[in-house]
């Protein structure tokens, strides 16, 4: 199948879905309901762009991020990176592709091996892809990378536990940029960090992007951080993208009632603006039992009968701004 690639698009995603189904348990013998974690995701990430993927726990944003790197396999759909349909690559070819796509994880405590020195951790991808030959080359390259992420190379023989959370995240970033990737999926990279450390890491990630020109898929739940780092924003709810558009449009004229509620729910660090919040009723339904029609209809403040039966498609409400709502209306939220 052909995927139309325009020169600008680095990553093209078409109708990607993922169903996790579990076989009956050994002990209880009951089969688990299958979970539709991602459903019909279609979007592009342009070269040098940051697309933010936002949503609450269980919305499928992390699964979608992993699908794009083929860390888990999609159930259906097409994913092209730089024109290459990665779902059709052999495992050998995919390994080569991994030099061009990298991941930064949320938990800088859990994602770095505690038994390996920082030098070993950062050098691992360099060695896998044969980018360094000698020990000296390796140490020089690691030192260079450590400087680029704001760590002192004198610490290269230390172990992760000897570093703070922010420093560990810098190590994770150094490892991700070591092979000079074109595309980085960053899954909640700053949400485990303190505010002042978070600012340092956000700035570092932006500086690196500016100097190296790669693209980010920035997965986050914090809309304030996203406002600072994203070029475009995609909002997910129960496995589906419900709104996507340029950052300015999403923040100034959110069109889906879920996006509007999300934005209005953020407590602003300013006691003089008491904003009127849209308080959604209830919890997010289980992804194993997604409501019929529009999956947001059980919590939607403007729900109509049609929403219970017909699933709204993602349609353009303004130039490059799409929303999946029968009654999508750009509605500024007083922030």
């Amino acid at each position: 199948m052909n995927i139309a690639v325009t020169g600008d698009d680095l990553v093209v995603v078409r109708d990607v879905g993922k169903t996790f189904s579990e076989a009956g348990g050994l002990v209880f013998g009951r089969s688990q309901p299958s979970v539709r974690a991602v459903d019909g995701a279609s979007f592009e990430v342009k070269r040098g762009e940051t697309l933010a993927l936002v949503g609450e726990s269980g919305c499928g944003k992390s699964t979608l991020g992993r699908l794009l790197l083929r860390l888990i396999d999609a159930s259906e759909g097409e994913i092209a990176i730089d024109g290459v349909d990665i779902l059709r690559l052999s495992s050998n070819d995919m390994r080569q592709m991994r030099a061009r796509v990298q991941m930064i994880f949320q938990d800088p405590y859990g994602s770095l091996s505690p038994r390996r020195s920082v030098a070993k951790i950062i050098a691992e991808p360099l060695e896998i892809f044969g980018l360094v030959q000698t020990r000296k080359q390796r140490r020089d390259r690691v030192a260079e990378l450590m400087i680029q992420v704001g760590l002192s190379p004198t610490f290269m023989d230390r172990y992760p536990r000897q570093f703070s959370g922010g420093q560990r995240q810098r190590i994770g970033i150094a490892r991700a940029i070591a092979v000079d990737p074109q595309f980085i999926v960053a899954d909640e990279p700053v949400s485990a960090l303190d505010v002042s450390v978070q600012a340092q890491i956000v700035n570092l990630m932006q500086d690196l992007q500016k100097s190296r020109g790669f693209s980010y898929l920035f997965i986050a739940h914090d809309l304030s951080v996203v406002r600072h780092i994203a070029d475009r924003v995609a909002v997910m709810y129960l496995g589906r993208i419900v709104e996507i558009g340029p950052k300015k449009r999403i923040y100034d004229f959110p069109s889906h009632p879920y996006t509007q509620a999300l934005l209005s729910a953020v407590p602003e660090p300013d006691p003089e603006t008491r904003k009127s919040r849209i308080i959604l009723k209830g919890d997010v339904p289980s992804p194993a039992n997604v409501p019929t029609g529009c999956s947001f209809h059980t919590r939607c403040p403007i729900v109509q009968p049609v929403c219970r039966t017909e699933r709204p498609p993602l349609v353009e409400t303004a130039s490059r701004h799409l929303a999946a709502c029968h009654f999508a209306k750009p509605h500024p939220i007083p922030l």
Binding site: S196, V225, R227, H228, K247, I279, L280, D283
Partner: protein, 342 residues
């Protein structure tokens, strides 16, 4: 919805005790063997009037949670130890009370809610029984009366269909619902002081909004005094009238919430406020405070913020600034803000 008299009984605005409800004086907490102990909280003083909502904000390691645990008498000991200070609750020093008296006060006079409701709830006990246990401990009441009280509490915190839900177990609830159950347990005996340690940090933003609304409702209906511990200034601005900023185990600023946001006097507070990404501002570069929070016990002399401070003067390296009064509404532990120049 009607709230039965047992719940709507409000705390008298002025109790029999004339001073503040809670007064913490020169509190220091140490960890580790004596002699080599590390101070994680040092010389913390503040007070909270009955009916107020006060927030303590700080980053990891600032000592904010340790301070609140000390008020509850929950510092793990050993290895922890309260080295100095007094914690006066309605004028009575809690640290001077025999250990056996604290369980009486916890739950009835002072209650606490934690960040992670799942690890604070008993997984093999129904939520009705868990709330009932808190009531049983402190109040004499018949079974049926207690059951009614539990149902009222569940209604108050917004658990739908409470008659049926009180037989459910914690794992049958979502994170937001569990936090509501925790709040119901905490307010079961109508405590005078409710300590909430990062009550919404583990929750999604739409669920956080629900729980913040609930905290407002608890305050309105029960007139509970609130001490809120959070790293999130947005959450603090939503609930509190006053905020205490902690850094490296010390209080560095204490002011009413509007003043602190409008004109912070401690350079750390200023840096913290500037480094928060804001929803309404898309200025792409975030302000960053240089350096890192010092490890506990590494700053022996001078202001703990000195190595990172943009406004530092020589005096800051030599002498630790006490919490100085800037106006009647604002105190800051900073020589420069207090007018020193060299």
């Amino acid at each position: 919805m009607t709230i039965a008299p047992s719940l709507s009984r409000q705390q008298p605005v002025s109790s029999t005790h004339p001073g503040p409800l809670l007064k913490v004086e020169d509190l220091s907490i140490e960890f580790g063997p004596e002699g080599t102990a590390v101070r994680v909280v040092e010389g913390v003083s503040f007070s909270i009037d009955a009916g107020a909502a006060v927030g303590i904000v700080g980053e990891s390691g600032s000592g904010k949670s340790m301070t609140s645990l000390a008020v509850m008498g929950l510092i793990p000991s050993p290895p922890g130890r309260i080295a100095t200070g007094r914690i006066l609750f309605e004028g009575v020093d809690l640290l001077g009370l025999p250990r056996s008296r604290m369980p009486e006060i916890r739950g009835r006079d002072i209650a606490m809610i934690f960040q992670e409701p799942m690890s604070s709830l008993n997984p093999v006990m129904t939520i009705g029984d868990q709330i009932g246990e808190a009531i049983k401990l402190h109040e004499k009441m018949g079974r049926e009366e207690r059951r009614q009280r539990i149902i009222e509490l569940l209604k108050l915190v917004g658990i739908p269909d409470p008659e049926r839900r009180l037989g459910a177990y914690p794992h049958q609830f979502s994170g937001g619902m569990r936090q509501r159950v925790m709040i119901a347990m905490a307010v079961a005996c109508n405590p005078k002081l409710l300590i909430a340690d990062e009550p919404t940090t583990a929750l999604d933003v739409t669920i956080q909004a629900q729980v913040l609304e609930l905290m407002h409702k608890i305050r309105r209906t029960l007139n509970t005094t609130i001490l809120l511990i959070s790293h999130d200034l947005g959450v603090i601005a939503d609930i509190c009238e006053r905020v205490i900023v902690m850094y490296a185990g010390k209080v560095v600023e204490d002011a009413d919430v509007k003043t602190i946001f409008r004109s912070p006097k401690h350079p750390y507070t200023r840096g913290l406020l500037q480094s928060i990404p804001r929803l309404k501002d898309e200025n792409t570069r975030l302000y960053q405070i240089p350096g890192m929070v010092p490890l506990p016990g590494t700053i022996k002399q001078g202001c703990p913020f000195f190595p990172r401070c943009p406004d530092r003067i020589d005096k800051c390296a030599r002498e630790t600034p006490p919490l100085l009064e800037i106006t009647s509404q604002q105190k800051a532990a900073c020589w420069v803000s207090a007018g020193a120049t060299s």
